[in-house]
Amino acid sequence: MIENSIKSKIGNGINFTSIYTDKFKSNYLSFYFIRPLDREDVTLNALLPMVLSRGNQVNNDFIAIERELELLYGASYDYDVYKSGEKQIIKFSIEWADSKYINETLVDDKVMEIFFNIIFNPLLNNGCFKEDYVEQEKINLQRKISSKINDKRSYAISRCIEEMCKTERFGIYSLGYVEDLGEINSEKLTNHYKKLISETPFEIIYVGNEKKLDIIKYIPKHITDRQFTINIPREVIREKSQYRNHIVERMQVNQGKLVLGLLTGIPYEDELFKALTVGNVILGGSPNSKLFREVREKYSLAYYANSILFKHKSIIIIDSGVDFRNMQRALNLTNDQIKKLKEADFTDNELNLAKKEIITSLRAIVDSNHSIASHELDNILTNKSESIDVKINKINAVKKEEVVEAFNRVNLDTIYVLTREGEDDVDVND
């Protein structure tokens, strides 16, 4: 069973949260660098874990790291760089089988050593990261950034966000920019790394059944003893736009993409935010939603029509994949559904179904060690210590009037259309 999380501060700006449970056959440890999303640093931050994963003082290359991990029954190491609101998160994680099932002792210690060596004991040449590792990973990062075009759905969403938040941090692409790679070299990246480990808030989260993990002994003393950490600003929430963005992009595609960006102006600290969450699900967060029923089921215009609420930035993104000739109809229908939320044109049943939908996913969090960790991190990032039960109660308490009130603060800000040459554009006037 899940016990409460136990938190301890193991250094200045270094927090360790343990969630003990015997439900899983594995241990999961994740380590997060929390940085402000910043145009200057974003590319360096994205590159850093790629270079660190190449090798360290103990295991010089990834083949050595990987082989050690395999011998520990496939302990799986991973890293990720993403944005959470206007924060850039560099995440390192490792998952390994519970020693109970594999007849091996000391597995935990060995895994910890390999993991923390990747983060804190990089391979250095004359005080700098190995040059060819940096140069190769620069190319790999450049490819990663350019490959965002391959998946048209996520490309369209990220383009809409980029245009919508052009002058804000949230518009920054989480993996950085090709044009910034040129001036990065081993020395610059090494200096950046040193700065990062000296001033960045770290969160470490463990989910599993091992109560004797002594994390602190794997973190260098000069880091646990550091005096200063940077402050991570809270996201700026915009309420209303001056003018509406309308972006049309043309590419050789078979299906058009229609993406709408909406400002809500309701921060997650606001009591009304829960109502906004429920309203978003009524609009387009499930197969019972208005968008699914109208755009897909009733008019057969799309295979998917969804609405996502970005909690930390308080914006809603609606996206659908539509045949070019139906683009205008899909846009009008989507606008009609938003209007229905504003005008209280939804039933108690729709309200209850949306609440159930949210509650079901909240309840399921405890069945996955990865979800438990991300839920915990989200609480940390939003300065809340709300338990899942409290969240469920708050969702249940949302009233119809509150949803209507919340949606009356919602404003369409950006319309992004991905289409092909020769197709008409859509009329965006109300």
């Binding site: 439900k23 990987e66 496939g74 089988a97 190769q136 790999n140 078979n254 799309a302």
Partner: protein, 425 residues
Amino acid sequence: MLTIKNERINEEIYVETLNNGLKVYYYPKTGFTKKYAVFSTGNGSCDNKFKIEGKDESITLPDGIAHFLEHKLFEDPEKDFFEKFSGLGADVNAFTSFNQTSYLFSTTENFIECLLELVNLVMEPFFTDENVEKEKGIIAQEIQMYQDSPNWKVFFNLLDGLYVKHPIKIDIAGSIDSISKIDKDNLYLAYKLFYNPESMVLVLVGDIDFQNVINELNTEFAKYNTERLKGIKIYENEPTIINKKRIEEKMSTSLPIFNIGIKDVNVGITGKEAVKKDIISNLILEILFSRSSEFYQELYTEGLIDDQFGAYYTGKTDYGHSIISGTSENPDEVYERIVKLFKNPDKYLTEDGFERIKKKQIGQFLIGLNSVEYIAHAFTDLYFQDFLLIDYIDLYDEINFKMIKDRFDEHFNIDRLCLSLIVPE
């Protein structure tokens, strides 16, 4: 009720056959709040030609009909299934693959009610001219969405290169042209062929009162007409040679994307031997191509591949193939290096690598058992190959390095190698 235990991993399963012949498996996960059910038929997009028992002529169904059926079973004259399940606190979904169609839900409450709704969803088709027509627009957009996915295209182009006649080369959803031939009559016909409880399986995972579930299911199933057609699937004779050596297509992508396939000719086996062949093939591919291999390290350092590079084997009774995939600025060079490796594998295919990868796969299998979804899907998949998931881990004890070498010699043959490429416009 039958119980099957595996002490080593501390897991057990229960089996019961219902009055209508349907087999129900229960895999307990105590302490989990989520409960998961998957109701499947072993018919998918590859099942398109049949001879019906008692009739002379054979029938060919339009491409994509299994997937169309999957969409249409959600239709009901009185209720909206999505609403029903959400009201019960559950998420319902379905998918169609080459050999299987599955309907599933996950819930944290009202498990029995949800399960009976799932049975109702699958057992009571309701097709009208109107609702069939309406679905064509939705599925057409689903097909178009996949047409814009380079990973999907490179994969299906590869299957087209590897197979001469086998229906695996046909897109699961069919084409806009083939779905235009679907109507309520051929849907009912396909339904009667595909959805016979005796050849289906229901898998339940979570913390569930199984005996009670069985009683409820027997009562529920008694309500439905289970009169079905008995169809004998017609297999085309697939030659051992491949269809094309190389396929290239242009799309709007950033870099060339490649799939290199090897056709398996050791087909026709089932059960334990087939699953073992599957494990051995995947062990070989990991020894040769995973991040811990010399080959990966060499190509990565030369900038020929990036961390998208990987390989896997998949197969069923009547087909099988390995796929090595990735992105590269110079995919032809990657291809050449793989050919070279296959001609001279000794440096890479080592016993040491075998022992490491074996440990890794055992550990990762254990980690997989954390997930009710993984269990249910892996269970169903293996069930249709006549094997029980609970025995899976023990197969590793029976595999030795000689088997790895023998299988390498048999399967990794450069005459059956195909390169599929998507290149930027």
